[in-house]
Each structure stands twice: as C-alpha cells, then as structure tokens.
Amino acid sequence: MNSLRRLRRAPAGLRRAAAGFALTAIAFASCGPPGSDPTLEQMITAFQTAPEAVAHHGVRRVDATYVLDGQTERVSYTEEAWIAGDGRFHIVPKDVLELDGGLGAVGNVADFVSIQSAREGFIFRYRDFRVRDVAQIAGNYALSFVGQSTEFLGRAAWELAVSRTPLWQASTYVLVVDIETGLILKSTEYDKTGEIVSAMEYLSIDFDFDPDGAGIAWHQPENDETTIDLDLDPIQAASLLGFTPMLPSMLPEGYKLARTSVVYDEGGEPWLKAEYTDGVEVAFFLYGGPTAADVGTASTSPVHGLSTGSPIGQQLGGTGSVISWSEDPDPSQVLVYNAGAIRIVQGEVNAHEMIAVGKVQEFDLLRMLDTALPQ
C-alpha cells in the first residue's frame, strides 16, 4: 500500500513508466516495440557497445542534483564530446549553466572546467547510464517501453524505462535511444521517490564526422592504471601491488566483479581497484594494503590524475581550503559520506586501508570493508 501511495504522488512520466513495468516480463521475453524486429535483448546488447563503438560528435547537457543535510544543490553544464568509435574519446566542458551551492566548493567556473577536464576518463566510463553486463541487467532490472516510438534530434528513437528491482526501492532511468545505432541520446535518472537525480541529453549530434580529420586531442590516460587478473596471475598482482590483494566476500545484492586493476594515489602508492557492477551501476572497492598505524597529513592533494600543487587540488575542500586528512584519525573507525545517491566509505581498519564507493546502501559498503579484512 505504501508503494501504491508513493506511485500516485510520483510524476506523470514516472507513473507511465511504472505502468509499463507491469509488462516487463513479457516485453523482455518476447519482442521489441510495436512494429520493430529486434528483440529487447538485442537492443540491450547494442546499448552495451554503442557508447564506444558508435562514432559521433555532439554537445550534451548534464544535470545533477545532490541532497545534503536536507539541502538541495544542483550543477548543470554543457560539454562537447567526440567519440571516434574505436575507443578514443575526448570530452570537454563548455558552459556552466548552474552551480547552485557547488561554486562554493570550487571557487570559480574555470576551476570547475579544469576539474571536469581532468576527470575526462572517469566521466566517459562511469558517469552516465551504460549497459555494462547484459546478463546482469536481465537479473537485476525491469525494462519496458514507454509509449510508442518517438523522434529525438530528427532521429527515430525508442523511449525505455529501466528500473532496478525491487521496484519500490529502485532508481529508474528513462532513456531515449537512437534506433539505428543504439546510442542513448537522453537519459534521466529518478530516485525511488520520483525525484530527478541526474540527467544527460544531447543537444546536437553528428554521426558523420571524421575522427581522423578533425585534429582532436584524444584523451590520454594520466595514470598508470593496469588491469590485472587476480585469478589468472595472482603473483603478478602481488608484485605490482607490493602486498597480497584482498577483496570483499560479500557484495551488494546483484553485483558481481567486473574488473580488477592497479591504480596509484596522489602519493604514488599502489591500490588494488576492484570494479563491481549490477549491469548498469558501478561500485568500487579499493584496497591500499597493510600500513603503519599512524596516518600523516596530505596537503595540496590533487584529484586523481592531476599534478601535485595544481590550484584545483587545493580547492577540493568544502570551504575552499586545502584538503587534509585528520591528523589523528581513529584507527578503528570508518568514515561514511553521502553525496546524494552516491556513498563513499573509507577507513583504515586493523591497519588495512580500504575505500568503497557506489550507489548502494551504507551497510552494503561497510560490509564490503568488513568482509575484505583478513580473518
């Protein structure tokens, strides 16, 4: 009954999507939208490859809303994206439309643009809706078509609703998908109360541009991230890390390990990075290995990938001051930070440094740390 009352209060668009959910099993098991041949599963598979395989150039608008301590903060900007279709990409922020509350953290728009540019790789891989595992989606999400096929930016498109099950706890993505390429032209993320959490929308798109003729400064990784296979070559992993890798034995519901790699923090220290997915969302677990009991300070700590001492690195604190760790953190205590739908957990437990991040419940992340500890 509570679920039905919440549904009646939900936005009209979400109610339509919810009505479509009732047909999810039929839609997924049988055919695509009226008058089309590809099955839903075939479409989902096309979605998975399109972000990197479909060459295109366009301008898109990005909106995000954070709720902190009951206060709503918004960020809205445009960016220009070049996707070569062979793995190369280049994403550059263009105009900042709104930074309600966020400017206080950054200081000025120029620094915000610099931060976004430095996070180009992260944005391309993790920020937007992406199909990461077709089989996982089938098990964890309800998919349905919303209304009839539509048109977007002059292209024939489908409108889909993708919702994490169970439905009354779920966040929902409403997607507009280009029929020809499977590229997502618009996505809107709703939380379980029906409020918009984030949105991405192409304002213009060109599928005919020449990736090699435009003189584009394609993204170059600034870190030394190295993919490793802990099962295939645990010795290589241990030698790269300098310690025995640890992974959580209990994961958020519906998640499974997708990839492991070695990344480096601002001090050049290696961390094991484990990437988990439920088919759409990503959760991270980072393990820094055993360490000494004392934890020092780190000033002018830059965003991952930036050089030390950059002004951006000095502006990451909420008050614009230099970031510093607590000089005397409780060694047995873990910190939890909620950034809207995203939760961050970090701590040094029994002299083991760990971080967990994801769009999951606090307890799920805490349990990841707990079950990764050596027994």
Binding site: V75, E98, F112, A298, Y337
Partner: protein, 272 residues
Amino acid sequence: MSAHEHSPTRDAELRRRAIDGCDPSAAPDPAALLRSAEGLAVEGRAPEGEVLRRLADQARALGALPRPTPPRALDEAVLAPSFLAECVSEHASGVSTPTGPERANTESGDVSDLLRSLPRHAAPAVLDRLVAEELASPEAARARRFAGDLERQATPSSLWSRVARRAEPVAERSERAPGARPFVLRGTASWSLPGLAAAAALLLWLGGNPRGGLGSANASPEDSPELSFSWRHATAEELSPLAASFGMYHGVVPSRSNSGAPSANGGEGGSR
C-alpha cells in the same frame, strides 16, 4: 637334518612331489598314494611314507563325501558376465578353466552361441536415469557425489545476528545474544502457511520503508548490524583525494553551504 626328521619345508616338498605325480585334473588317488607310501617305507624312508599315507587317508575321506550338483540359478547369480566371457574365451583358446559353469556344448567352439545363450536381465529404470544424468553432466554428478560426503558446517552465530538485525524495525531493535536466530525463522517448521505469508509481507513492507528497516541509508552507527569496526558520518573535507575522486561523479565536491533559492536557469547564457 636326517632323512627321518620332520620339518615344514620337507612336508611341503613331499606333498608337492606327491601331487606332481598325480593328474592335476583328477582327485588324488588314495591307492596310488598308499603304494608310494609302501615303497618309501621299503626304502627306509618311513616318515615320508607316513606323509603319503595321511594324504591317502584324506583323499579317501574326501572322496567319500556326496557331491550335490549346484542349481543353475546359483551359477548365474554368482558369476559375472565378464567372468563368463573370460571362461568362454579361455575355453575357446584351449586353456582349461578349473572353475566355471558347464553350459552348452563347447566342443564346437562357437563363442557367439554361448554368449547368446546367456540369460539377459533388464536394467532397473533408475539405473537408466542415473546413467543419463552422469552422461549429461559428468562434473555435476561428480560434485553431487563428493558434496554429499562433505562434512556439513553449522552456520556461524554471527550470521544469524546480522540477519536478525536487518529484519527488525529500527525502533524495536534490542540487544541480542550472538547466537540468537532471526525471529522470522524461529519455529518456522510449526508455522502455518498464512503465518509465513504474513512474515514475508512484513519483510517486504520493511524493505519499502524509507525510514528504517532493511539497509536504510539514514541508519545511525548504533543501529549498524554486526561489524568489526565502528563508523561515523563524515564531512567532505575528511575524505581522502582518492576516495573523493571516485565518489564525485560530476566532478564537484558538494558544499554544505546553502545559497538559498535555486538560481534561475538562463540556459546557455549563464556562463561567466
């Protein structure tokens, strides 16, 4: 050692020589043994003769025993088909088989006829199913066989405590002993179906309650299920750069300040 002294080795040697002198396919002839014994006594080898005399007595006693014919069904039940085939093949190759059922006329050497005469039994139906399962998935069948032999471990008590805490509403949680089991499972075996349905509905309602129940995002540290460490909510400034970089999907560390009413969205004219 003199010729008249007894020893286990000498007795065994005498028996062997006595038997070697007889036809191995025939039972020992008591009369022949006695004649040999008398001959040895004449030669002054009375002890050896005595051994042969005892052998003769044994042979006479065994020969006097009645020899019932075993029922055919017993032969069929005892001897495996592979052994029968071995007997048949040995017979076909001319090697005499000391044991084995005498069946059809084998003088013709027709092995195939002999095989055809063997009785046929239908395999039980369950055997067909077991073989089919084995052939369909040998690994799964092997896993079932081995898993069934594994020692079954008891669920750790800490796991029950975690489940119990997650199933309870926040306001009603109380201290539990580590070994306590979740309330929805206690006495399950005696619950009726409506009772189980009510428990399931309760769990589902708790899952939809944004204020508590299963995995609430706003759970306070003291409500945490069992963890081996304590935790607290932190500010953005306390995050490490590495943690912040993975958590800030949109690149901006949200400020805790409030700028009041949301600024008007001037579209793309809002740049500075």
